[in-house]
């Protein structure tokens, strides 16, 4: 990018004005990355439609706006966070709440679960476990083209930290409730680090909610290390109002024979961009990337996936689906990258979308880049409507058209939902999607904001 846009200038200024405050409040090791990352951000700037990775997503709508940002958490806010209750009552999880990107201070900053798993604030962990942080922080979030990742590295000071020691199998998932609440329009960034050591098994659910009807912009980066033979699942449930813009970058680094899956369930949100990077960094690693979004009104949902096959005999699978209603727009940008020595690669990618109105628009870009010969790779993408034959089949058996359409759409969505391994969450998702398809759920469950 040559010549910095006005928008980028604004964020450059934000950094200069606040860097001292940010640094004072966070661990030295996190600070040591800031300057360089900021340098890279000033070169790259805020992505525009000229950047290939953001070709169909117009961020300026949200980034041009003026936001308030704060860099030291306010204790009073956290009481509000405490009031929030997840409405999936039968789901047994270890819960954590993150408010506007900060870990609540009224709890302990870090807590240890029975099996020796640590969960808590990244900032606190960076002070308490410097050797773990130094081994992993900033090691996986590699990107040469996305300025937003660098902006996050330069300015984020807190987020979630999870450490699962070798061989520990945590039967209950950890649930992070990611709240955004403020009386003014705000911009926040947080940074998560999840480490799953050898032979450990762990799953995490990240739920995004907005609690007040202001305009929000969130730019989050999550780095995940999955050790040898470890199993890891991450499920995101995104339920934000229409004036919220959520940008997530998730980097999953996998070692030998590990299995990892990522599942992005986007139910509601103004502008959502999920970038998921899978790095298969050892022989026999297996990765799954799933995504489902239901968009209506003026919403825009963009799923970006990059699967990097760096070692031989790895397997990857991508399945992304979207249902677009009203004037909503959607984007899928998936890439399978097979490096020269990654022989024996199996990689699949599938993207299906349904357009419900003439005003909805879907752009999809499934890509294969293959530099090894002993591979089996395929991808398929479709944009269309419900299958006329299937509809006829159901109608001919006495199911009315409206119900038949719903059944087909539900079946379409369920193909993604069924990959969630946590049963109460899976049922809940089925339920929410059904309600959403019936039009009974124009806003998110548990949301106090009426957006429209």
């Amino acid at each position: 990018m040559n010549g910095k846009s006005e928008t980028t200038e604004k964020y450059l200024k934000l950094y200069h004005d606040n860097i001292d405050k940010i640094s004072d409040n966070s661990a030295p090791y996190l600070n040591s990355f800031r300057e360089e990352a900021f340098g890279r951000f000033s070169e790259l700037g805020i992505p525009t439609k000229k950047d290939e990775a953001y070709k169909y997503t117009n961020l300026s709508l949200f980034f041009d706006h003026d936001y308030a940002s704060y860099f030291i958490p306010d204790a009073a806010d956290f009481e509000k966070a405490e009031e929030f209750r997840c409405d999936i009552s039968d789901m047994d999880t270890h819960g954590i709440v993150l408010l506007n990107g900060f870990y609540p201070t009224i709890n302990e900053k870090l807590r240890q679960l029975p099996s020796g798993v640590w969960i808590g604030s990244l900032n606190a962990a960076a002070k308490k476990f410097p050797e773990i942080i130094e081994k992993h922080y900033g090691k996986y979030a590699h990107t040469d083209t996305d300025g937003l990742v660098h902006l996050n590295t330069a300015m984020a000071s807190d987020g979630i930290f999870v450490y699962v020691p070798e061989g520990v199998i945590l039967s209950k998932p950890v649930q992070v409730v990611n709240l955004v609440q403020a009386e003014v329009d705000s911009f926040s960034q947080h940074r998560n680090l999840i480490i799953v050591e050898k032979r450990a098994e762990f799953s995490i659910i990240i739920c995004d909610h907005t609690l007040s009807p202001k305009k929000f912009l969130t730019n989050a980066v999550t780095e995940i290390f999955v050790g040898e033979d470890a199993h890891f699942d991450i499920i995101r449930v995104q339920n934000e109002h229409n004036a919220a813009c959520k940008i997530t970058h998730t980097f999953i680094h996998q070692e030998r024979n590990s299995v990892a899956s990522s599942n992005n369930m986007t139910l509601h949100g103004g502008l959502i961009r999920n970038s998921t990077y899978h790095y298969l960094g050892g022989e026999g690693a297996e990765s799954h990337s799933f995504g489902l979004f239901l968009a209506d009104k003026w919403q825009h949902v963009d799923n970006f996936v990059n699967v990097d096959h760096a070692f031989p005999h790895c397997t990857s699978n991508q399945l992304f689906k979207g249902v677009l209603d009203d004037m909503s727009t959607g984007t899928f940008n998936g890439r399978i990258y097979v490096r020269p020595d990654a022989q024996g690669t199996l990689a699949y990618q599938k993207n299906n979308n349904i357009l419900l109105t003439d005003d909805a628009k879907m752009d999809t870009k499934p890509q294969l880049e293959i530099y090894a010969d002993d591979v089996k790779c395929s991808h398929g993408a479709t944009v269309g409507q419900l299958d006329g034959d299937a509809l006829f089949y159901l109608q001919s058996r006495g199911i009315n058209k409206r119900e038949a359409r719903l059944m087909l759409m539900f079946g379409f969505a369920h193909e993604v939902i069924q990959n969630i391994k946590i049963e109460p969450l899976r049922d809940r998702m089925d339920n929410l999607v059904m309600q959403r398809l019936r039009g009974e759920l124009s806003r998110c469950a548990s949301c106090m904001v009426k957006c429209g």
Binding site: M362, H379, V383
Partner: protein
């Protein structure tokens, strides 16, 4: 087994380029380099009318403001436009009334290439327009075609004889501002073919243009304009070869097709420019803009291409489906061997209602070749009931080559059905084993498998071309199976 395969692979991939000879024809060249004066010289050499000179100058001035695009998945060495000769023509082409007037060297060249310039010998009937370096040297069967009202001549002749048609259609599909190489071509194009099929006429024979780069250091910039008026039909062939040279040569052409109501155009290319030697030295840069406009209702444009030559191929034959019920097709086989690179594909723009498009692309990579499919399927808001089916397969023959797929699907209409699927895989060892086991050598087995793989596309070619294409595939891949 592995070793035997590797050996055969290397033999296959090391097949020599057959058309690498150079003919010593007396040529007229202008000095190297590009400037407004050069554009004027080209125009005056061809005695062009003012409006055409104006068009060239506008294009040149626009080109100066542009930069070479960087988005393709190609490694292109920098091109010095001041080292290229922009105009080279065989001399003494004043009065070409009979074949005897053609320079015997030139005739020999075409005989060597197997291009029938002599009408009487050629019974199957393919009308040929031969373009050498920058200039069309001979168009056969002109009279036979004229009886049916078909115009088939060199572009320069068309400018003189049918200025109205040329003026009306030139640049209407590929404007001079379209892209870097289209602007360059619009400024300096030297010749090409022009073809007009009148209303209701079904062209009785295949029309064919044969392109040959002969001189050193020259760029070839030709322009083809093909107009099929209402309810007409034409099948058009294009073939290309060039001598083997160590330096790269630039070929930047434009092909524009206009299909009026219910017209059908079938455009087939067998591209076999010099691909460079085994170490990637030399070869032609083939940067071509090809686009067809389905202007009227029920019109149809079908592109078929066999891309085996060129060091770098960078082209996207496209269809703009403007007329209701119009159809666009794209069938492609692209082979990259040794150090060849290809970034090719198509664009299908659905504008009219009930428009249909089909894309079948087969990439074959061997040696250190890099082969990319890049395509766009765009369905505009008003294109009700648009239908697209794309299939892009890649076959890998070797562990140093690459195959890439970059499809773009942009859908803005709920009634559209757009499907894309792609697979990439190695040639099946079980298939080779099956053949071996029945007494077919590995090399022949590979030939069989590749031909079977490409059959869907080759079947779309006119017969004479299909035979040639099959042979070409075999030669291009000689020794390349792993």
């Amino acid at each position: 087994m592995e070793k035997a395969q590797d050996k055969i692979l290397s033999e296959v991939t090391s097949g020599e380029y057959k058309y690498g000879f150079y003919s010593d024809i007396e040529m007229e060249r202008i000095p190297k380099g590009l400037s407004e004066d050069v554009v004027r010289i080209i125009s005056s050499k061809k005695n062009e009318p003012d409006w055409l000179l104006e068009f060239r100058l506008k294009a040149y001035r626009h080109w100066l403001t542009m930069k070479m695009p960087k988005w393709p998945n190609l490694k292109i060495p920098p091109i010095d436009y001041n080292e290229i000769i922009f105009y080279a023509a065989p001399k003494q082409r004043k009065t070409l009334n009979s074949l005897d007037d053609i320079d015997p060297e030139l005739k020999k060249t075409f005989d060597k290439l197997g291009i029938p310039l002599e009408e009487q010998k050629h019974l199957s009937g393919v009308a040929v327009d031969a373009v050498i370096d920058s200039v069309s040297v001979k168009t056969t069967f002109k009279e036979t075609l004229a009886e049916m009202g078909i115009i088939f001549c060199s572009f320069s002749d068309a400018v003189k004889e049918y200025p109205d048609l040329v003026r009306r259609y030139m640049g209407s599909v590929v404007p001079y501002t379209d892209n870097f190489f289209a602007s360059l071509n619009s400024a300096v194009f030297s010749d090409g073919s022009f073809c007009y099929i009148p209303k209701g006429v079904r062209c009785p024979m295949e029309l064919s243009t044969y392109f040959r780069i002969n001189s050193a250091n020259t760029g070839q910039f030709e322009r083809t304009l093909l107009i099929a008026d209402e309810e007409s039909y034409v099948s058009y062939l294009e073939g290309c070869t060039a001598p083997s040279r160590d330096e790269n040569q630039l070929h930047a052409a434009i092909v524009e097709i206009i299909a009026e109501k219910s017209a059908e155009v079938k455009y087939s290319t067998v591209q076999n420019w010099y691909p460079g030697n085994k170490d990637g030295l030399g070869g032609v840069f083939n940067f071509v803009t090809k686009r067809g406009l389905c202007k009227g209702e029920n019109s149809k444009i079908s592109w078929t291409q066999i891309e085996t030559g060129s060091a770098i191929t960078w082209k996207y034959p496209s269809c703009i489906l403007r007329g209701d019920n119009s159809t666009g097709e794209f069938y492609s086989v692209a082979v990259t061997n040794n150090h060849q690179q290809a970034d090719t594909g198509t664009k299908m723009i659905h504008i009219g209602k009930n428009t249909k498009s089909t894309i079948v692309s087969k990439g074959i990579s061997a040696g250190k070749g890099q082969n990319s499919y890049r395509g766009l399927v765009k369905v505009l808001r008003n294109a009700t009931n648009a239908r697209n089916y794309s299939q892009c397969d890649s076959l890998l023959l070797g562990d140093k080559c690459g195959a890439h797929t970059f499809p773009y699907l942009e859908v803005d209409n709920q009634t559209a059905i757009v499907e894309h699927e792609a697979t990439t895989s190695k040639i099946g060892e079980d298939q080779i084993f099956y053949c071996n086991q029945r007494g077919i050598s590995t090399e022949d087995a590979i030939g069989l498998i590749v031909n079977g793989y490409a059959r869907e596309v080759i079947n779309k070619l006119p017969m004479e071309f299909a035979v040639e294409a099959q042979k070409l595939l075999q030669i291009s891949l000689e020794g390349s199976i792993g």
